[in-house]
Structures are given as C-alpha cells and as structure tokens.
C-alpha cells in the first residue's frame, strides 16, 4: 500500500532492522539502511546505505547510493554511485559520479540546459549534420541478475 509521510522534522533515518512500504517523503535529509518499497523523496539529500534495498523511485538534490536501488533516480544537483552501489533503473542528473565497482543498468540522462537553445544546423545543400545534443543511452555494466 502506498502512502505519504511528509514532515518538517530533523530528517528521516531508516535503519537496518526496518522495513517500510509507502512513500517516504521528508523536507530534510533521508538516509536508508533498511528496506523501502515505494518512493523516497527529499528536498535535500538522500543517502542509500550499503545495507539498503529500495524498490521504487528516488528523488533528491544530492543523492548518494551505496546500496541497491531498483527504480529511477532523479538528483537535482548531484548523484554519486559508490563502489558498492547497484542501480537498476534510469538516472537523471546534472552531475554524475560513478565509482569503480558500481553497477548501473539503465538509461542515463544528463540535461545540460542547452538542448532548448541549440537548434540543429541544417545545410540545404550538403548532408544533414549529426545531432550531438541527443541524450546518451548507455548500459555501463550488464545486468547480473
């Protein structure tokens, strides 16, 4: 069952011995070391610890992944995938750091802010030029599961 928890408290920490189902939403930092099935949304930072398993989308300004995420990740400012991190889902961020050993299976989208400003050059006489602004779809490591 999906639900919403939205508070103004000091942040949320989901420990190793905790399992939650629903939308975990906090205006402050969220740290997950246990299991969450549902959305994890913060207006600040989200940390997915090494022991954590998240099944659902993750959204935050600063997102750090050391555990397992099965779902899309949106980081407004920066996403860091640590060496123990495993992501099975798409990523959308302006600033991406992937450490050696991390696993990422999914699409990566990095908005540059230039997409709407740069129009593709069209040369009526020659061959059409290659559009360099197209977002890269890449699979960095094979799905091991």
């Amino acid at each position: 069952m999906k639900g919403v928890m939205e508070t103004n408290g000091p942040g949320t920490t989901v420990g190793v011995n905790v399992s939650l189902s629903g939308t975990l939403k906090d205006q402050n930092d969220i740290s997950v070391f246990g299991m969450v099935e549902g959305e994890v949304i913060s207006e600040k930072s989200v940390t997915i610890g090494q022991t954590a398993q998240v099944k659902g989308p993750v959204k935050g300004e600063l997102v750090t992944i050391a555990g397992v995420v099965r779902g899309s990740i949106t980081a407004g400012e920066k996403l860091e995938l640590l060496e123990t991190g495993k992501v099975f889902g798409s990523i959308n961020t302006k600033n991406l750091v992937i450490h050696s050993g991390a696993i990422l299976v999914g699409k990566t989208e990095m908005p540059t802010g230039e997409d709407s400003e740069v129009e593709p050059e069209v040369d009526g006489e020659g061959e059409p030029t290659e559009d360099a602004s197209e977002p890269a779809d890449e699979t960095l490591t094979p799905d091991e599961e």
């Binding site: 939205e6 508070t7 408290g9 420990g15 190793v16 629903g22």
Partner: protein, 241 residues
C-alpha cells in the same frame, strides 16, 4: 500567584529540600499555595483542584515522570512551571537548569516557551521522552500518517514530544556453534532509525509498557497524534520551540 504541586517525598532529604524551597519562594516573593501529592490525592486531582480555583500557572516540583503527569493535567488550561528535584534530567535540560534556586528565579522572571507535545490516545501526554525497552529484541508494526506501513525490530524505542520515533537495536549475527551446544563470536549489528509523522500507530506483540523514568504512562498498542505548540512552560529564555 502560583500553585505548587510537590511530588511525594521519597526520603527525609527530599522533605528537607521542600522546606528549603518554601523559604526560598517566600524570599523571592513568589510563594503560593503548596500541595503535596500522595496516594490519597493524586497529582491529577490536585491539578484539577488548582485549575478550579483559577490558578493560571501550576508549578510541578519533582522529577521527570511527575512533571509529565502535571503537564498532562494542565495542557491547554494553564502554564507549567517546574522546580526539578530528583530524577529530572530531561526537564532540567528543557527549562535550562537542574538547580532549585535558579529554577525558582526562572519562575519569578516568567519567560514562557511553547513546546510541541504528542498525545497517546486517549489521554496520555508525551512531553518528555517516553521509552519502551523490551526484555529482548522485539518487533513493532508501524503505520505513519495512516498510509506508510512497516515494521522494525528494536531493543529500545523512544517517542518524543515532536512525534519522532527513535528505534534502536543491537543483535548478534553469524554466531559460531561449538559442539552444537554453545555459541561464540559473531558480529554485533547496531541499527538506529528516526521516523516521524503527525499520526503514528505502534503495535507490539506482546503488549509493552511505555515509560518515563521508572513510571509507566501507557502501553502498546499506541495511537499517537502530534500537537504542535500546545504547552507553555516557564524556562530560562522564552521562545517558541
């Protein structure tokens, strides 16, 4: 004028402290009606008597659990003053002193702070941290704000006045068996969680007591509701907390 309610004295030393307090309050010019709780006259009954007589400030003289009792009886009806005596670490931190004289001076200056509280339905007030400590690792089922559900294993569960649930656990994993009889080694896994909401339901099996200090104030299952800015307390500095 203030209405003072004294916790039943646990020793001769405390009785002597109460006598000193009377003198101190008189010297500060804030002496008022002073009543002592006893098995025959509970803190709640004494508080109701004070409120019926029109007192706008009730001063609890005692430890954490006693202060929480008085707070429960006056919330929404009067201002809480405190003279911490005995096991009063939490309330001392809140008002800004554990010294009787300094606390009495705070009463004279009457600077008010407003605090959040959490109500354990139907009528348990959580102003000071309340704790559940089961004899062994226990499971609690949680429902937060009616929809977010889950469970946790814990050795200690603390509920704060801000409707925060602190869940702590520590247990051994990967123990080795010797001759199939004895266990040794293993790794201790510690876990700390902090969850919060406006409405929280906690269920354990079996029922467990919720304590402030050594006094049980409620037992599971608990339905908690957050009450922002609901209790006015005389402290060192007036503020909205």
């Amino acid at each position: 004028m203030y209405y003072y309610i004294l916790e039943p004295p646990t020793s001769r030393a405390v009785r002597q402290t109460y006598q000193k307090l009377r003198d101190l309050l008189t010297n500060l010019g804030i002496a008022g009606e002073m009543v002592a709780a006893s098995p025959a006259r509970t803190p709640e009954e004494l508080t109701m008597m004070g409120l019926e007589r029109g007192y706008g400030t009730v001063v609890a003289v005692g430890g954490d659990a006693f202060v929480n009792n008085i707070a429960q009886a006056i919330i929404g009806q009067a201002v809480l003053g405190v003279i911490p005596i005995g096991e009063a670490d939490q309330i001392s931190e809140i008002i800004g002193t554990n010294n009787m004289r300094t606390a009495a001076e705070f009463l004279k200056f009457r600077r008010l702070s407003t605090f959040n509280t959490t109500i354990g339905e139907p009528e348990t007030l959580i102003f000071l941290d309340a704790v559940i400590t089961p004899p062994k690792l226990a499971k609690v089922n949680l429902v937060i704000d009616g929809k977010l559900r889950g469970y946790a294993y814990f050795n200690k569960l603390t509920i704060t006045r801000n409707a925060e649930i602190k869940i702590e656990s520590s247990h051994l994993v990967e123990q080795k068996k010797i001759l199939g009889l004895f266990t040794s080694g293993g790794t201790t896994v510690k876990s700390e969680s902090l969850l919060h909401g406006k409405s929280i339901r906690l269920v354990t099996d079996p029922e467990l007591a919720l304590m402030i200090g050594r006094q049980p104030i409620a037992k599971t299952p608990l339905q908690l509701r957050f009450h922002p800015n609901s209790l006015k307390v005389i402290t060192k500095r007036g503020s909205i907390l």
